[in-house]
Symmetry: C2
Subunit: 252 residues, 2 copies
DNA sequence: GCAAAAGTGTTCGGGCTACACCCATGG
DNA sequence: CCATGGGTGTAGCCCGAACACTTTTGC
């Protein structure tokens, strides 16, 4: 049985502050290699797969500080050109500051997901300094390709495989589910952070603009205020907050 | 690589009506073999695993009417005595009326999950006409056995393996997640059903009592009233309802 | 009439939304 | 002074919880 693991690694990037009066803008990113594919790893008998996946992240980025969970196991021969077997995908969230080393053949792509027309259509844009990949994902309910059918209209042109497109789509859906129900948002951030940073994470993942006064109240029970101030911009400094450990939430 | 599939099949049973004035009581059930294990299936290269899992259900129960989704892929050598590899579990929901054949070596066990003390402790009771299996599942947050650690205190006595216990636990959590966010509840029922039947499904899965006046209002948009009446008891007959197809919801 | 479920309506409170408003900062 | 984000308060709205009440049935 041919079986392989791979990793969809999410992170965020802080753009430089162009205007001291404005917030740094964060961007959601994923790590892909030069063929626009995810980092992979081999799975052997008598190994604890989750540990194997973790070890691969550690080897890749030389750090052990990240969040990891199993995303899905893909097993549809139509997804593969050769070696038609299974792929187990793990979803990773990492704070860039914890990355000690960047593999030469890999790059973080900015990823932007626009929800269009209706809830089943998404436009996905991947870009870095060198290239831009755009494609549209359409979910058709009740058809039978892993429960839904995905159409990756621009897949051929962009050299993103259908499976890669589906994994990105599923990864985003999982993030959206988790961010509303668990504390994964904090995995993107430093131990101490400003509320506006947390809000940006929510906005990036959910692709919405939130009203900060309301966001603040909503997440208030999940954070603890410290007495430290961030002073690095031409607006009122923010207090630093930390995650309130009482709000650990697990999920299926 | 040694890899296997298995199935956690959920269904419900209608008890006989003891008192014409009372509702039939439903019970949540799962299918286990004589060793208290789940039905398994083999996975081969070049097969669409979900289809393979479906085919196994069809072969087992001689029907094609059921709900199926991937639950999780288990890969921890500590879970296995021998053949230490991977197990991919699919979760199935079936209406007993659609089962055409019951395999001789398998039985539906009533399953009752009590939430105790706090959200991390569950008492699980499996029973059928011949035996009863009780165990307690404790989830410890932040430890590292598939993200949480499970302690199956009575596993040895009851001959339920640790993996079986974890799959049941995870299956229940998945059902609880799905029932709040999708329309899986309808998979347990006939095409036409009374609101009280639907409510019982919710109560069984969530282990709570719901106020029927409020439940009715909550699920109102998800159902359509027919003009048929159920008259088979000494209380006011109910209209039959059907699922409103506009409320199909998918999930990650 | 009675017990039980079917079904409707009303009240109350908590949480979310929208928005007004003041504060603190560097330029 | 200004623009910008930080932070607080408040009014309105919706949804869910609690519960009262009427209807319908078989016995």
């Amino acid at each position: 049985m041919n079986i392989q693991g791979n990793l969809i690694i999410f992170s965020t990037d802080n753009e430089e502050r162009k205007d001291v009066r404005k917030l740094k803008e964060k961007k959601l990113q994923i790590l892909l290699d030069e063929k626009n594919e995810f980092p992979t790893f081999q799975i052997k008998d008598n190994e604890y797969i989750k540990r194997t996946a973790e070890a691969r992240v550690e080897e890749l980025l030389k750090t052990s500080k990240f969040y990891i969970e199993q995303l899905y196991t893909w097993g549809d021969p139509n997804y593969y050109i050769e070696n038609k077997g299974l792929t187990i995908t793990y979803l990773v969230i990492i704070n860039k500051k914890n990355i000690e080393f960047m593999p030469k053949n890999m790059k973080f792509y900015d990823i932007h997901i626009e929800n269009k027309e209706n809830e089943y259509v998404q436009n996905i844009v991947l870009s870095n300094d060198y290239k831009e990949i755009k494609y549209k994902i359409e979910t058709i309910v009740k058809r039978d390709r892993e429960n839904v059918e995905y159409i990756n209209k621009l897949a051929e042109k962009t050299k993103i495989t259908e499976l890669t497109a589906i994994i990105i789509h599923t990864g985003i859906k999982r993030l959206r589910n988790r961010i509303e129900n668990t504390n994964i948002a904090f995995s993107f951030l430093d131990k101490e952070f400003a509320i506006s940073e947390l809000q940006q994470i929510y906005e990036l993942i959910l692709d919405t603009k939130l009203v900060s006064a309301n966001f603040r109240k909503k997440i208030e029970p999940m954070v603890k205020k410290t007495d430290k101030l961030v002073k690095e911009s031409a607006y009122r400094p923010s207090y630093m907050y930390t995650f309130n450990e009482k709000f650990i939430r697990n999920w299926v």
